[in-house]
């Protein structure tokens, strides 16, 4: 028995119908988008289903797309099936003004720090997280540094006269 991407897609569409969108395969990994309200339901279904068994959260992170109105932040989940050795990628798009996403900590212990890291760098508010505070940056920080509105310093700038660093 082997779990193909087509079959996973078929099962997901059967269960959730039109709610899941933009199914695509990139480098053999099935990718789809779920609405923010459904992220836990989809993951629970993938976890519990006898055939799908996506019971390992490999990675959780976010991406900032400033050019997408009302869907600026994408939370990306990489799920894994140990038995069939299949990866799956789920994306949740939320507006940067209201970045609320349900926490996955109830399902996966590993989501705890990964969600804290995502909050720390992108400001995604994981609703229901037991300890949502900054993890790598200092607590006093007031902004979310991985967002695209904070570019790294332009190395060709000339307005700064800093002899110490030889710019």
């Amino acid at each position: 028995m082997s779990l193909t991407n087509d079959y996973i897609k078929q099962r997901l569409v059967e269960k959730f119908g039109e709610a899941l969108t933009s199914f695509e395969e990139s480098f053999d990994v099935l990718t789809f988008t779920a609405p923010a309200a459904l992220n836990l339901k989809v993951m629970q279904f993938l976890y519990d289903d006898e055939e799908l068994q996506f019971r390992f959260l490999t990675d959780l992170t976010a991406v900032h797309y400033p050019h997408l109105p009302d869907a600026e932040l994408a939370v990306v989940y990489h799920l894994y099936n140990f038995r069939e050795k299949v990866r799956l990628r789920m994306k949740i798009f939320v507006p940067v003004a209201a970045p609320q996403v349900f926490t996955a900590t109830k399902l996966f212990e590993s989501a705890n720090w990964m969600e804290r890291e995502t909050y720390d760098f992108f400001g995604v508010d994981f609703v229901g997280h037991p300890n949502l505070k900054r993890i790598l940056n200092v607590d006093e920080m007031t902004y979310f540094p991985m967002r695209k509105e904070f570019p790294l310093e332009d190395q060709s700038r000339i307005d700064k006269d800093d002899e110490m660093f030889g710019r």
Binding site: T61, H78, W113, F121
Partner: protein
């Protein structure tokens, strides 16, 4: 002294159990890196732990968004600096997958040799240090000598030792010299003896066994829930290894077993790492044998648009000059795409989640750092343990601060 003073009658609940707070770190020799554990202690037992990480956070993911692809390799060095070559290769393999570059077999085998050497150095430090933390300093010294031999191999191949920046996208920057192969042969000849000696010293040593058995155990289910990968997950009894599950760099050509443990305690983690070193040695031996049948002059893929040309050609040939300029300026054409690629790092699954929009730098690059993910299980592992057990548990998890913080 009268009798009344001796028999003090205390009201109910006046003596309350108090716990002490103990700060372990940020820079404490027992933490093997810069991070802090705030332990809540009841006498000598750990009641609760809170970990503070981020002291050496260097914003690699942000920096990577401005750098051309070939300049990101040195950033990966500094993740798990005990086995930097695996990180380098992981990054090269990710970019090669994005660009669709097929590497020749010889490059794959050379990479396997370097990666397995790195795995050995990482495991030998970890296992040596578990010994040190249980009070056995000798074993560490036995093994440390052989890390030097491996570092000499790196030096011969790429010129540097700890943060190696080894290899390029498409292959290696130069061919392995005969001296490099001699050094690998020397290591293969000498290391098994030392490892055997180390095992004789530790594996059935009663003090060591009693200090590590049952310390920091974790069940397979909990380990999976906590996102464990690598030797720590295998010690809990799950035979997941990226080299076998999703072979890269021609690992499917090699014959090796995945050692697994049962209880996931410090002793099992120690045994799994030791067994993996033997497997790595066998893989290197197989790779050396396979190399004999392959053309000796091949050390990179023929991808002139991404692989730097010979310096002589740059001065004499137009094509080479153009490619050289484009690569150095970071103007090579990169395809848009999104992929997650993982390699079996020394600590577990080291993943690269790369989104390219076709620009000179990645649109987004995320490192899945195994240390960062499994370290959150630490409070559960040491709850109720003695302080000294908490230290062994810390060292047997093989936490590397660079990988924790990225």
């Amino acid at each position: 002294m009268n009798m009344e003073q001796q028999h003090i009658k205390l009201p109910q609940g006046a003596i309350e159990k108090q716990t002490n707070t103990l700060n372990l770190g940020p820079t404490h020799p027992a933490t093997h890196g810069v991070f802090q554990n705030i332990l809540e202690m009841d006498g000598e037992r750990v009641v609760n732990t809170e970990s503070t990480v981020g002291y050496i956070h260097r914003a690699f993911e942000k920096i990577a968004e401005r750098r051309p692809y070939y300049q990101i390799t040195p950033l990966t060095d500094r993740l798990n600096y005990c086995s930097a070559p695996i990180n380098n290769m992981g990054w090269h393999l990710t970019v090669e997958k994005l660009l669709g570059i097929q590497t020749p077999k010889r490059v794959d085998y050379l990479r396997v040799i370097i990666m397995e050497l790195a795995r050995i150095t990482d495991h030998l430090i970890c296992n040596g240090v578990v010994g040190v933390d249980t009070g056995a300093f000798t074993g560490f010294l036995y093994l440390m000598k052989y890390r030097e031999l491996v570092y000499e191999i790196y030096e011969e191949v790429c010129g540097s030792r700890l943060t190696t920046n080894i290899g390029r996208i498409g292959g290696f920057e130069r061919n392995f010299t005969p001296a490099a192969f001699q050094k690998i042969e020397k290591f293969l000849a000498e290391y098994p003896k030392a490892l055997k000696e180390f095992e004789t010293l530790m594996t059935r040593n009663r003090i060591f066994v009693e200090r590590t058995t049952g310390v920091g155990p974790i069940s397979a289910e909990r380990a999976m829930s906590y996102g464990f990968t690598g030797p720590n997950l295998r010690a809990a009894g799950v035979d997941y290894d990226v080299r076998v599950a999703h072979p890269y760099s021609s690992y499917e050509d090699f014959d090796f077993t995945i050692p697994v443990g049962t209880t996931g305690d410090c002793y099992d983690r120690f045994l799994v790492r030791n067994a993996e070193m033997w497997e790595s040695l066998s893989i290197i031996r197989q790779a050396m044998d396979k190399l004999k049948d392959l053309p000796e002059e091949v050390y990179h893929a023929e991808v002139p648009a991404y692989y730097l040309p010979e310096k002589q050609d740059v001065y004499t040939k137009m094509e080479a000059l153009i490619y050289h300029f484009k690569i150095i300026m970071g103007e090579s054409d990169i395809l848009p795409g999104e992929l997650y690629n993982a390699v079996e790092g020394a600590n577990g699954e080291l993943g690269f989640y790369l989104i390219s929009d076709g620009g000179r730098s990645p649109y987004r690059l995320h490192f899945r750092r195994p240390c960062f993910i499994y370290y959150q299980a630490y409070p559960e592992l040491v709850k109720g343990a003695m302080l000294s057990d908490a230290i062994i548990c810390l060292s047997s998890l093989n936490l590397i601060a660079g990988e924790l913080d990225a």
